[in-house]
Symmetry: C2
DNA sequence: TGCATGTTAATGCAGTTGCATCTATATGAG
DNA sequence: CTCATATAGATGCAACTGCATTAACATGCA
């Protein structure tokens, strides 16, 4: 039995990612809701609570480039979903805090997001398979064991 | 032991996808090569050989919207990597055929793509894990068993 | 044949992204 | 304190994307 090369992982990963993402974004658009980039940002802000987050912290959490965060934040702020507060202690920076409207929007997105996702993923797996897949995908995220690089 | 919900699959899937994709695109840019969208198109054309492919066939294979293919093809054509041939039998359509330059470019991209991918994926898994992960991801692509929808 | 309907592909426009650069503030050495 | 350097965030411009629409051809039916 052969060792699969990395493309036998990457290829289905990329394709299923694209296909699921397309479904979810279509469902959100259908519902007149903003896309997953907004959701992800709102989620992080909501987790951070009233302490808020600095843009550069979002950058790390969301794996976005600096200007990506800058503009995304701009749009969410214009939509009233977050508030920019001046950062005492660092005059260059700012602190981003979710508004009640932002939190409400996150929930609205969530209902559609969650639903579509469930339909796209669940039917393909038994409980055991799902658990194993989640576990294996987790390994892809964590830093690789030092001896294998 | 609990059944994981679909997000325990989607979340690491989305994150690892983004992170791997970013690595590969960065490596390609670094090497002065075009991105993966160009690669994917060239690959399909090369597979199709001298028969070529119709744009709407690419659309299905690449999971791209119609206008996406139209413009991507435009760019590749301008770069001389494919040729548009008139389609005898359907005056609306055209047949896209890869040029020798296109095939050469595909190989150049491949060396970087393949290399970066290998580094991003391989260290995380044993051979058995890799095989299992590839298998499970495959299930996500194929249509779900009818009785589970 | 003549016309209604469907299919293939292109495109104008507005919104978004990537890249490079820029401003403003912070930090540390002398 | 003063200057060099580093960091936080914004922005101009060109390229790209999504959406809606359009043009050109195909197909089927009266």
């Amino acid at each position: 039995m052969e060792t699969p090369d990395s493309f036998e992982i990457w290829l289905p990963l990329a394709r299923s990612h694209k296909s699921i993402l397309t479904s979810v974004e279509a469902a959100l658009k259908q519902a007149g809701l903003p896309g997953l980039d907004w959701y992800d940002l709102l989620w992080e802000l909501e987790c951070a609570g009233s302490d808020g987050l600095r843009p550069f912290e979002l950058q790390e959490k969301l794996l976005l480039p600096q200007y990506g965060v800058s503009r995304l934040v701009d749009r969410l702020a214009k939509a009233g979903l977050l508030e920019r507060q001046t950062c005492n202690g660092d005059g260059r920076g700012q602190v981003l805090v979710i508004t009640p409207e932002g939190a409400a929007m996150r929930v609205r997105i969530w209902t559609v997001y969650s639903d579509t996702m469930q339909q796209a993923v669940t039917p393909h797996f038994s409980a055991g398979e799902a658990r194993r897949l989640a576990e294996l995908l987790g390994k892809l995220l964590r830093p690789a064991p030092a001896d294998k690089i």
